[in-house]
Symmetry: C2
């Protein structure tokens, strides 16, 4: 597997673009299109929030066919909590795009991100879609990645190549994140495309596995969105021999998809709203994988841990307190905590000023690793999060204005 540069890349058989059509009050891009020149296998992962955006409801119905050819995504308006009108607008968006692209409406998936409770400006959408279709380009991925951003500071792109079934297969993805990032909901939006020739069921299974080890291991603020969505298209343009389940090629494909999904998930956390640090939290020797992940996530979600990380303060007591209320089997007197290379806590006790100073130095870095050893079993889990800064509060206090 080769990890490619994200500048000016292309994926055989696909075009993409992004423009400003007027949904956002600023002049930033707010409409993205992804198009496959032939019908592709499509798999999706959708928010588990009971309140689902119109786009999610539409896509959940469409993905049952396992097929599709285009994605229209807008930022600036979530088209969530918009009732029947919202569903009508989502359907109309797909119809307009289908007409412009000359394909069936059922082959078009839609995605929205932005303010909840507002209606899509449909005449702007119609003009925008027509313009964007005219501009579709093999090298339009950066434009598309920009057009799905909301409070994101930079576009998130990942691309890898691998030899599968005798051909070179490319897998590329774009994502947006920033706020309302929490496991079991994909991230806000993520689109992955590949020219691999792969069956629909295998694509679905691979995508679920990749999601579990990537987007479901991150948290920014513990809030689960109404619009989260991962869509993955495989159009077969590589003309490779189809990987068979359990075979070498299917494993290679899984590794590629995992790599792209994990890279995008980490980029989402690094660009978390107001984030100044990327934090990896690993829990070792928990009783079960579920408990390991729950312990890690509880620490990752704690506002007190996150503000201490922002303050570069090795306040391990807050980590211990979070473990204590995580509901996971743990024993303070067995627990070790490392920050960076510093063993800050051994068997539940602080290791003194030297360890504290070393941990504080590690906390001054842009990337921080925290390891928690529960000494209770053999299971481990790793999650990624960011710190919580004043900027997070400022961004979210003013989001709609």
């Amino acid at each position: 597997m080769r990890i490619l540069d994200t500048k000016n890349f292309s994926v055989p058989g696909y075009k993409a673009w992004g423009i400003h059509c007027g949904i956002k009050k600023t002049d930033k891009k707010d409409l993205a299109i992804i198009y496959s020149d032939r019908e592709a296998a499509v798999a999706g992962v959708f928010t588990k929030n009971r309140v689902k955006a119109a786009s999610i409801l539409l896509d959940m119905a469409r993905v049952r066919s396992g097929k599709g050819q285009a994605i229209i995504a807008n930022s600036g308006c979530a088209n969530a909590c918009t009732g029947k009108q919202g569903l009508t607008d989502a359907r109309a968006t797909a119809e307009i795009a289908a007409r412009e692209l000359g394909i069936k409406p059922e082959a078009v998936y839609v995605a929205s991100t932005g303010v909840i409770g507002e209606f899509l400006p449909m005449s702007k959408m119609a003009t925008g879609i027509s313009t964007a279709v005219g501009l579709l380009s093999t090298f339009g991925w950066e434009q598309a990645a920009e057009a799905i951003m909301t409070t994101d500071l930079y576009p998130k792109i990942s691309i890898v190549q691998e030899e599968i079934g005798g051909k070179t297969v490319t897998i590329a993805g774009i994502a947006k994140g920033s706020g309302m990032i929490h496991p079991n909901m994909a991230t806000m939006l993520c689109f992955i495309v590949t020219n691999a020739n792969i069956s629909g069921p295998m694509l679905k299974k691979s995508l679920l596995a990749s999601t579990e080890s990537s987007f479901n291991n991150i948290t920014v603020d513990g809030d689960m969105s109404t619009n989260d969505l991962i869509l993955c298209m495989a159009n077969g343009a590589a003309l490779n021999k189809r990987p068979v389940a359990g075979g070498k090629d299917s494993k290679k494909f899984q590794v590629c998809l995992d790599t792209v999904a994990r890279s995008l998930a980490k980029q989402v956390v690094k660009d978390g709203e107001g984030a100044t640090k990327f934090v990896e939290i690993e829990v070792r020797n928990a009783r079960s994988p579920v408990e390991a992940k729950r312990a890690a996530m509880t620490v990752a979600k704690s506002s007190l841990v996150k503000t201490a990380l922002f303050g570069e303060d090795a306040n391990w007591g807050r980590i211990m307190a979070a473990l204590g209320y995580s509901g996971v089997e743990m024993d303070e007197a067995r627990t070790d905590i490392f920050i960076g290379k510093s063993k800050l806590v051994e068997k539940g006790l602080g290791q003194g000023k030297h360890a504290d100073r070393e941990a504080t130095l590690a906390l001054k870095q842009r990337e921080v690793q925290i390891i928690i050893d529960l000494h209770k079993g053999k299971a481990s889990a790793t999650v990624w999060t960011c710190d919580m800064s004043c900027e997070y509060v400022k961004i979210n206090a003013a989001y709609r204005s």
Copy 2:
């Protein structure tokens, strides 16, 4: 029942005081004593965090006797995650106080709040306890309430009187809160005393009921502390006839205790770290009381809802999203949301600019009421929280320094 002024009050049979003994780096008070001139019935509610401070472990053992006579509380050091040394220090604190007061060590309860993972400075504690015992005063409650503060901006006190069993009974409480405030953990520290003559079992039952309708309905930041504790003493100095279970007097006592506990709980939320607003969230017509509370608490805990409240932004989509991931049975298309008197959402849909403007005006007040009607059943619940401000992040980024 009469609600009394919190200035210069006394509770017959009790003395209290608070001093600075040198645990805090500043010259602020950090040691409080509460003393009953005779043995009292004692009941307690303790943090459910698996990681428990030494003081909690000691008090949990002592409260089994249902009796006690004094409380020593320090701020500035939590004496949590301090292993065997921590337990030795907690026990020694009680012994020093017992010697100075001339009572049994088992009659002394201890409480600590502050930084986790540091040891109590025992020589300062010894000198401090001796000084504080010498200063004990009938009118020392404000000093005691100040001495248990950490990042609190003001002391929290509540006092009521009622005729019970033919005598005037006083119930007074002091509390501290601020950060790490979350249900199922009492608040950080709360001490309630009464001169009522009441049985130990009835005191315990009443305290549990009061906690459920007060401290277990508040959240500041969703973090559960290792040190949370409510202790309630009843020394019988009023010489009233003992209330019998289910009788008029036991109900009167419950109302008094509820009033004191709820007043203190609300004061804790109003003084939440960095809080600029006191927010009451009521969920109506949920399927069950458990679901009503869960829905209300999920909204109350959401960082995105709390930052929107800070920004005085009627961003009801975030409330709907939180309801959607609360795990509670709800249907977007049935849900109404009110902020203040403004019906912002009816049957899942925003009610337009006028409703938005009215809600925004309500959000500009210091106290905000949010009502959510799920139209799913008949159960309701009310919880109290505060907004999340930049100040919250600043306080917690710098807490140890």
